[in-house]
Amino acid sequence: MSETIANIKSSKARHYKEIVKRYGLLISFFVLSLGISFLTPNFLSAKNLMNILRQSTIVGIMAIGTTFVIIGGGFDISVGSTLALSAALALGLQSSMHWALAALLAVLAGVLIGAVNGFLAAKIHIVPMIATLGTSTIIRGLVYLYTKGYPINGQVPQFEVIGSGYLWGIPVPVIIMVVLVALFQFVLSKTQLGRYCCAVGGNKEATRLAGVSVDFYHMMTFIIGGLMAAISGVVYAARLSSATPLAGQNYDMDAIAAVVIGGTSVSGGEGTVLGAMIGVLLLTVVTNAFNLLGVPVFIQYVIKGLIILVVVGIDSYTKKRPR
């Protein structure tokens, strides 16, 4: 009997250790950004904070989808290209149809790309990183073909509200992001879809043998990934009123980094949309602080890459290291 109690106690201790391990990264980043805020006097000004929020929206919306993909055990590095295609379509199609319809078609294009990625990963069993590298290249090519290499500029002021308008003093893209975060956090934790996406990432074969249509849910994670990338593309187009063929480059990596910083495991199975959002904010804070401190952009690249490697490295090392 005393043995069982000891077991229970130690398992509880391990439980807390798990939590610390999972969110330790988040906490340390929070401390870091707090430190930055003391270094830079402008950092805590309301204007700058709102600015940070608005700067987070594009990668933020994208990261919602990336969260699902990584939880499902995959990776999607085509979301940057998907953003570019969606942005180009949203602006380019406006010359021949209503802007809302153009935006809708742009979003559907993202869903289609997600379905293709999901099919390649779940049904053809291509390693997701490679599958999405392939589709990413194809999509980027399609963007160049569609735009003929030139930026497409927007002409419809109503559309631009999506990217640069304000509602009750809050930027519209921030509202869109917050609504999507709340919605998809709910989907992830309270619906069958979300639960099965986690299960597929946790142990696909066990989930299959439990009678779940795992390939469908595996594909769904990529579809949500594509959907979110396309929505972020529409917001991007509306914000800049311009879509260049090079839009969204490296955004996929930012999204993945944010998701992992936010506590989602790179090996899949667990994570939160909320965590990813905090991850995005922290990355934006770091960028913002660098700008305020006058750190050159090229050095920022190097540092950001290091951050990503350290974060993913810690997660992978603690999970995969031989016992």
Binding site: T191, A199, R208, G211
Partner: protein, 455 residues
């Protein structure tokens, strides 16, 4: 106890002069407080072929792993050529002239039934891989050749027929003790089986066997590659059908095919009269089937997830409405079934990997109790579980049958199938070798299991 005359062969003239090639003295080994080997003595001469026999879990693999440096003995010593030897890893043992040949057979994906251990210091040429599919004759030739080079061989097997022609002598281990040392390989198989089994079969709990209802599952001529062939049986409502066979007999593969986890088999499966062909386990579950796979850690559970979601995984459709999970309903159902199966946990939100093996297995059963399929396939549901929990699992299985469910119970342990099943099928090398419509004696069942049928 039957007396057997000791028979030794090979290099007899050296016997008085040289120490034996191998001497294992007083070897004991425990895992997690369970004594697997209890003061075992084992001696071998040069150019001797010994068949090493024992039931599952008798300790034969452990002894061999100690010999080749995988495990360390808790007590005892190993003498090679009279000199004490101690191996920290298989490489050191290999350097001393000990090598293990594992039988790489497609029938045996996880465990080796037959391991051949070659002893021979000067003759350390790599022994060719002995393919189980190869003819017995080939075996004899190879073994004979190796023997003539002075190599000593320990031959571990379940298949008693192979012993006769190849080995000079047989040694039987049971429950961690040598019960017959260097007996003649021509000892009648029934006597060897008796030795492997032990005379004293302990008293066990018995369960009321129900009278079976209508046929729920009908399988005809099911064949899949070289995994299993022409399997036919009926499974009725309210009965537990035991499917017993050693690892590699094809029973797991059969279960997977029935459940739609593998495809491309021939033959028919009828469920409640409807002929069905499942493309996935999801379809099988929809049609009222369930399966607890053999390896709970890799195939049964999502270890990083909590207890609750592992239990509700197969019945989420009932718990959710329009795709929204009713959290309270999920929690109540999981807690209810967990208490019915007396699963020990601190918190349902605790990760399932922190539960003991027995409790984990009960969670897999709990999952299927919630999903409540008409036909439930259980593949080795008590493997690696303590005796008390085993008894609980038997009770759960009998309770399912009493409620009119049909259970196909796969096991490599004849003793437990005798306890839990109403009828028993013996599977061997992919075929149903024999069907017992009434429960046979343990000796008869084990004999049927391990004897190769002569066709």
């Amino acid at each position: 106890m039957i007396e057997y005359s000791s028979q030794r062969s090979g290099a007899k003239k050296d016997l008085d002069v040289k120490p034996p090639l191998l001497r294992m003295e007083n070897i004991s080994k425990s895992f997690l407080g369970v004594k697997v080997l209890d003061r075992v003595d084992f001696t071998m001469e040069r150019a001797e072929v010994v068949a090493f026999l024992g039931a599952n879990g008798a300790g034969k693999s452990t002894l061999m792993k100690i010999l080749c440096g995988v495990y360390h003995a808790d007590e005892g010593r190993i003498l090679l050529d009279g000199k004490q030897a101690s191996f920290n890893n298989p490489l050191q043992a290999y350097g001393a002239g000990i090598s293990v040949v594992h039988q790489e057979s497609s029938l045996i994906p996880t465990l080796t039934i037959i391991e051949n251990l070659f002893l021979g210091r000067e003759y350390s040429r790599p022994g060719g891989v002995l393919d189980e599919a190869a003819m017995l004759k080939e075996y004899e030739t190879i073994v004979g050749e190796l023997k003539s080079q002075g190599m000593s061989i320990i031959f571990i097997t379940h298949f008693l027929d192979e012993v006769k022609s190849i080995a000079d002598s047989a040694t039987v281990i049971r429950d961690g003790r040598i019960v017959a040392d260097h007996i003649s390989p021509s000892t009648p198989i029934r006597n060897i089986v008796a030795l492997m089994l032990g005379k004293e079969a302990s008293e066990r709990q018995t369960y009321a066997k129900a009278s079976p209802g209508p046929v729920m599952m009908e399988v005809r001529d099911l064949t899949r590659g070289n995994e299993f062939s022409n399997v036919s049986f009926e499974l009725r409502a309210g009965e537990v059908l035991g499917l017993v066979g050693v690892v590699g007999s094809g029973k797991t593969e059969l279960a997977r095919a029935l459940f739609g986890a593998s495809q491309s088999h021939t033959g028919t499966i009828r469920l409640e009269g409807r002929q069905l062909r499942f493309k996935s386990p999801a379809q099988a579950v929809k049609q009222g089937m369930g399966m607890a796979p053999e390896d709970r850690k890799t195939l049964g559970l999502i270890l990083e997830h909590d207890i609750e979601s592992n239990i509700s995984l197969s019945s989420l459709g009932d718990i959710a409405r329009y795709g929204f999970i009713n959290g309270n309903k999920e929690k109540n159902r999981a807690a209810d079934v967990a208490s019915r199966l007396s699963i020990k946990y601190v918190d349902l939100k605790q990760k399932i990997k922190f539960l003991s093996g027995g409790n984990q297995q009960k969670c897999v059963l709990a999952r299927w109790l919630l999903a409540s399929p008409q036909v439930l396939v259980l593949d080795e549901p008590t493997r690696g579980i303590d005796v008390a929990t085993k008894e609980q699992i038997y009770a759960i299985v009998r309770d399912l049958a009493a409620k009119g469910k049909s259970v196909l119970y796969l096991s490599g342990d004849p003793a437990e199938v005798l306890i839990v099943a109403d009828r028993i099928m013996v599977m061997q090398k992919g075929r149903i070798k024999r069907v017992f419509d009434t429960v046979p004696t343990e000796d008869l069942l084990l004999k049927e299991m391990i004897e190769v049928s002569n066709e």
